[in-house]
Symmetry: C2
Subunit: 288 residues, 2 copies
């Protein structure tokens, strides 16, 4: 789940003279983390672990500063998270060994899947075209083996009804109903995919948008579950959206069913343009 | 993974006068258990947790005595484990509430999926026709989210080669090569299924046999992995089997990729006959 951006969250400066930008693709099990973002209270965070490991592998003398595509809340997982960070251009480079070293330093609940040069104009957060998430619900018997990444739901869910209702939410809209309230920024987003399919364990939602505001995926899924169990009709979610106000009529789903699956970027020659557009179009504090 | 039966493992007596036999279907995440079987050393075991909960729910004044279809090793999971136990026939019965109570008492890594009367002649262990296991291997990028139930393998695996080799192992054979050595009992088993398929995360094996001896599934999978990565030809596993001796030419795979998926029973009217046959045909100490 993307955390609501806070005005004081630093955004990445351009690559400085004498520096080179790297991209990391990583996955993590969010169960035992207080989310992505480093916290002043010393809680265990993914960012803190990754920054410490980068500092050691590239001998920076201090933790690196990494910028992330999609900040995730406590308990939320990632399979296709992307970050960038800048290192001195005379640094030793052997990506294969450095991936191995990072994975040796990192705890087992974080895995680096790729280390590469970031193309010119690449910013993990601002160059992104879209974020893709899945949300997994077991609506049959409980499965303790997958309990950290599949949410258990007592009632059987009707995938057809959920797909019909989800499709009505697609497009460019004000998603205030599904966003945790902040006193800055907008909740206008373009939802490009929201679909459901039956799986071996239950049902899985796939969602894609240019960006999600805080709690948006979990709120959207929460508005669809009562459609799936026939307590609400298929117009319920779109009625909620159009009311443009937070409501107690559905619940925000638990964090642990949510996985950031991938971040979508444009072709290399459009990375800088996309970055400029995103920074210009929106207040820096609310792209995520 | 079935533990090697030990000669002193008690087998279930018939249902006593004034008692009634119940069946539990349950699932567990084996990660934090020292296996199914209760241990004198006080380590955390599934059997111990289940017996304590049964004792409380049916007010037995002490833990129940449960008999299991497939004992599993430390780290091995179960989705379709089956046990039976006997309670006084005047006990209060409300299976729906009692399932709920059991799940309330049990830790989150054990879930009871069904409580029911056992049909006449039912013995969870001796009435079983077959046990079905799956073994999951990620042969692409590591996925920390599923690391407790999917084993990571650096090399890409060739499912077609593995299926060709696995099929040669099917049938009634002496599987001594794949059984942890014991000084009692036989290693003759009927392997009725051993197949591989590609999944979203990698590859999954499905195995079915009348019974598996200790470490047999993990050894069989270990003999197939070098076929999958082309270090061995497709006759390698069957050559190993026919040598009828433990060998260092392949490794026993880790416990955490293994799941007991289900236990197969005959129709109700054949439960007693199957039980009698199994008890007669084999030394009690090695059916599992």
């Amino acid at each position: 789940m993307p955390l609501a951006s806070t005005p004081n969250e630093p955004s990445s400066p351009p690559v400085g003279r004498g520096f080179v930008r790297l991209r990391l693709d990583l996955a993590y099990d969010g169960t035992n983390f207080a989310g992505w973002a480093i916290q002043a209270n010393g809680l265990r965070t993914v960012q803190d672990e990754v920054q410490k490991a980068i500092g050691l592998v590239w001998r920076l003398g201090q933790p690196g500063s990494v910028y992330v595509a999609g900040r995730t809340d406590a308990g939320v997982h990632a399979r296709g998270q992307v970050v960038h960070f800048d290192i001195p251009e005379d640094s030793y480079i052997d990506f294969f060994r450095q991936q191995y070293s990072l994975n040796g330093l990192l705890p087992a609940d974080i895995r680096i899947n790729r280390v590469s040069y970031a193309p010119a104009g690449f910013d993990a957060r601002f160059s992104a075209l879209a974020r893709r998430y899945t949300y997994a619900i077991a609506d049959g018997v409980a499965d303790p083996i997958t309990r950290n990444h599949v949410v258990s739901n007592w009632r059987r869910l009707d995938v057809d009804a959920m797909n019909e209702a989800s499709e009505k939410l697609l497009g460019l809209h004000d998603f205030t109903t599904f966003c945790r309230m902040t006193d800055y920024g907008t909740s206008i987003r373009t939802l490009t995919e929201f679909s459901w399919k039956r799986t071996s364990y239950g049902v899985m939602a796939t969602l894609e948008a240019d960006a999600f505001c805080h709690s948006m995926v979990r709120s959207l899924v929460g508005a669809l579950v009562p459609v799936g169990d026939h307590r609400r009709d298929t117009d319920f979610p779109v009625r909620m959206r159009d009311a443009c106000a937070r409501t107690g009529e559905f619940t925000v789903m638990p964090a642990h069913g949510l996985i950031l699956e991938s971040v979508v970027y444009p072709p290399d020659d459009q990375l800088q343009a996309r970055q400029d557009l995103t920074r210009a179009k929106r207040n820096i504090s609310e792209i995520d």
